[in-house]
Subunit: 254 residues, 2 copies
Amino acid sequence: MQVDKPLILVTNDDGITSKGIKSLQSVMQEFGEVIVIAPNSAMSGMGHAITINSPLRLQKENIFEGAESYSCSGTPVDCVKLGIYEILHRKPDLIVSGINHGANTATNVLYSGTMSAAVEGAMEGIPSIGFSLCDFDADSDFSNAMKIVRQVTQQVLKNEMPKGVCLNVNIPKGNDVKGLKICRQAHAFWEDRFDKRFDQFNKPYYWLTGDFVEQDTTEDTDLYWIERKYASVVPTQFDMTAYKSIEILENWEL
Amino acid sequence: MQVDKPLILVTNDDGITSKGIKSLQSVMQEFGEVIVIAPNSAMSGMGHAITINSPLRLQKENIFEGAESYSCSGTPVDCVKLGIYEILHRKPDLIVSGINHGANTATNVLYSGTMSAAVEGAMEGIPSIGFSLCDFDADSDFSNAMKIVRQVTQQVLKNEMPKGVCLNVNIPKGNDVKGLKICRQAHAFWEDRFDKRFDQFNKPYYWLTGDFVEQDTTEDTDLYWIERKYASVVPTQFDMTAYKSIEILENWEL
């Protein structure tokens, strides 16, 4: 191991055998020493969940060429914690998560295990990036996304990431991506529905489903640029304080 | 049901049989029509997780005096979604989550299922509050916390909650709480460790553990006021954009 080579931790939420993490790992090999620690099954929608009520399992794998790899029974955030404290025993120089099969734009950042791994990295003071391709297909073509991954990674390694911040990078589907835009998280939401079904004992069960509703019509959001074929880069922070509301609440009789 | 009575959805992450949710429900009965939908088991640390890879179960219960109640196989955020879209079929006037057994100060807001239920409420445009007592004991004395819950709920029903914002209320242990302080999320973190053990087949497994490290020495944080025996109220938003970093990133060669 060369001293000047950055140590890069790769994770995701689609699971260690997904095509997206393989694409991400292969780009990262160009930049440094790579270690992959990712869930052993799909962990989409796990948000910032951590496993505290059951023990975690970690299994050494031999999946990636040139990179040590481990599958984990836990969530993406568990993977980051196990990576730093149990496998590496030091903080890596970079954490990358993805490439997610499907967009993590707008408020999806809160539900996304992929992005939560990057947010966890920011909490540890490590430059961290979550990458998502706006295509849910398990067999998506990641070749164009890999170019964007390369471009953003170069800049993150070259510049100093602002404190308490990670990057949420979403990449449009297709080969006609026009460029990159730095922007903000759109205020768009899921309009939830439940698909109610009945089991063999005639007891109901529910599948969460719904439509994504864009309520934000302003121009500087991730959704706005994705629709116009730009990759979006949203600097994302873990400080959830609504600073502008502090003054409003001061006028309440609390 | 009187028309002027607010409809209040109660949830938590410690599970429907916990003492904290019982205390919260009993205070809410003073304010309106109450419906309880909470996890059927402990869901601490589930963050903003949603259940998308397995179906959800919902069971009518008869646990609370004066309130309809349902236990759910999913996460606190699942409970909020099921409550709105499958049980109530309309948005409640208020969502309250807790009273959590243990603090949700500082960055714990990201890991907390209790607070994520409140954040989900804010995403739905519903006034929402997460309450936590800084005492992990399953048999905590909630009597003093209930006074703070009453006081904050009165103000939330009386005033207009800022858009996109919910409240994170933490209450110190004991009967000597001095008052309430509106403040910001402290930048304190877990210094994680894993307790590595071996099972009967000599295979390793890991329990997540660690110490909470206060790195934020400024005066206006939730941790600062909790230590001084004040209840903390942090307005909390789901917009995670690091606005101040947008300009910094504009100077990168992206």
